[in-house]
Every structure is written in C-alpha cells, then in structure tokens.
C-alpha cells in the first residue's frame, strides 16, 4: 500500500498571462490544489507578475480574466503569493496594483523558498 504524505508544494509561475494557454493551466492547477487542501504556495517569476495585475481587460481578447481567477485563491486558503521583487520593480508595479496580497522576494530568498519545498511545479 502506498503511503500518502503531505508534501510542501510550490507552483512557480513563469508565463505572461495571455501569450499561451500555460498561464491559465497553471492557475487551474493552483485552484485544484487549493480545492484539494494541499500545502501549496505560489511564486510568480519574471513577466509572470503581470498575471496578478488588477483590471485586466481579458474579455477584449475573448479570454477569462486571469486576475479575477487568481483573486479567488483566498477562498481556498491561499492568502498571498510570493513575487519576484526585481520583476515587480522592472514593471513599475506595487502591491496595490495586484489582485492578491504579495510578498516580494529577492533572488536569494527565491532560492531558499525553492530549496525548502518538497515538490516544485514550474509552468
């Protein structure tokens, strides 16, 4: 019989919101993990911080608003997201521009976060 263990999991999001379907797939995965009460945290790296932008006009390109989906994560006990501090600065963004409370991390802190998880899913 296989032993089911509780794993500390990290989803690393790396895509811009609408360039491909991957960002949406990653969001679906985050929601599913939340719904299955997994021990999961999210880290938005590089241009993926744009997924968190408030006020995305996704309906103009016939897509679901990724920001709105991400804003529902607290319903699944995912209360905040880690973000790449350098990427936020590069895009001139601050916490108030985003749909979720965030914790900005520098490169060293990102490395420690990745090292501390059991499973890392990178999309």
């Amino acid at each position: 019989m296989t032993q089911v263990q509780r794993r500390k999991q990290l989803i690393v999001l790396r895509q811009t919101p609408y360039a491909s379907s991957l960002a949406r797939s990653a969001t679906d995965l985050a929601l599913a993990m939340g719904a299955f009460e997994q021990d999961v945290e999210l880290l938005f790296l590089g241009d993926a911080v744009l997924q968190l932008l408030d006020g995305q006009a996704a309906e103009a390109i016939g897509q679901k608003n990724l920001g709105k989906i991400l804003a529902s994560l607290p319903l699944y006990d995912i209360e905040f997201a880690y973000v790449d501090a350098a990427a936020l600065a590069r895009h001139g963004l601050v916490g108030e521009d985003l749909v979720l409370p965030v914790r900005p991390l520098d490169a060293a802190a990102i490395q420690s976060l990745m090292a501390a998880c059991d499973h890392l899913l990178s999309l």
């Binding site: 089911v4 794993r7 379907s21 797939s25 499973h119 990178s122």
Partner: protein
C-alpha cells in the same frame, strides 16, 4: 524512488516531451518506479491516436504507449486541456455528441486531482516543458 511526471509540451514541438520520455525510460531502467505521467496543456496532444507521423520521425506517443504496456505506468491527460484540443475518448465523444474518439486506449482522461494524487505518493514530481 517513486517519480511522477508532469508533461506540458506538445509531442511534436520542442524538447519537453522527448526529455520526459527519455527520463521515464532511464528511471525505469535503473529500477525506479514512475507511478503516473500527467499530460497538461499542450502535453494533452500526446494521447492523440490519430496523429500520423513521417516514418523517419520519432513517435513519442507510440513510445509512451509501449512504456505503459510494458511497465504499467499510468498515462493521464488533463480533461480540460484534452477537451479544448478535441482529444475525446469514447465516453466524452458520446457526451458532447462528437464524431469520434481519438485518444489511444493506453491514455485515460481525468481531472487535475490525478496529478495531485500522484504527487502525494511520489518522492519526486518532475515538470517537463512549459
């Protein structure tokens, strides 16, 4: 060691799908176990039984099927990724009144819970592509 794999890449574009396949082959050859391979996003195309490849190009989907028959690893396509790409099995084709099933029988179609379940029993969960 028990591994679960998450494959994000299309079988006909880029390297992710081939890397995943070769990893699975190498892990099994060394006596490790691959409990489940979950195909998400463009990876869902791997289950396409209607793909016709030139004879001199590697058939990644066929290689996965061979590995599954020989070693019993589970091949699972994410249902939402699969449906968007027209990858239906017999029951989904009937449900949505579409002409025919095109997913090979070695692959099943299921929700993301199957990935989460695989991850909870695996010691390593590896992502390929994306």
């Amino acid at each position: 060691m028990i591994y679960s794999l998450l494959v994000l890449s299309s079988p006909i574009s880029g390297h992710g799908s081939r890397h995943a396949l070769h990893f699975a082959e190498a892990a099994i050859a060394r006596g490790h176990q691959v409990n489940r391979v979950f195909f998400l996003d463009a990876g869902a195309g791997t289950g396409n039984g209607n793909a016709v490849l030139p004879q001199d190009e590697g058939d990644i989907s066929g290689a996965w099927r061979g590995l599954a028959s020989e070693h019993g690893l589970e091949l699972v396509l994410c249902i939402s990724s699969a449906l968007k790409r027209g990858m239906l099995d017999a029951s989904e084709a009937e449900r949505y009144e579409k002409a025919g099933a095109m997913v090979c029988e070695e692959f099943s179609i299921a929700g993301l819970g199957q990935l989460i379940d695989a991850g909870s029993t695996a010691e390593r969960l590896l992502t390929f592509g994306g």
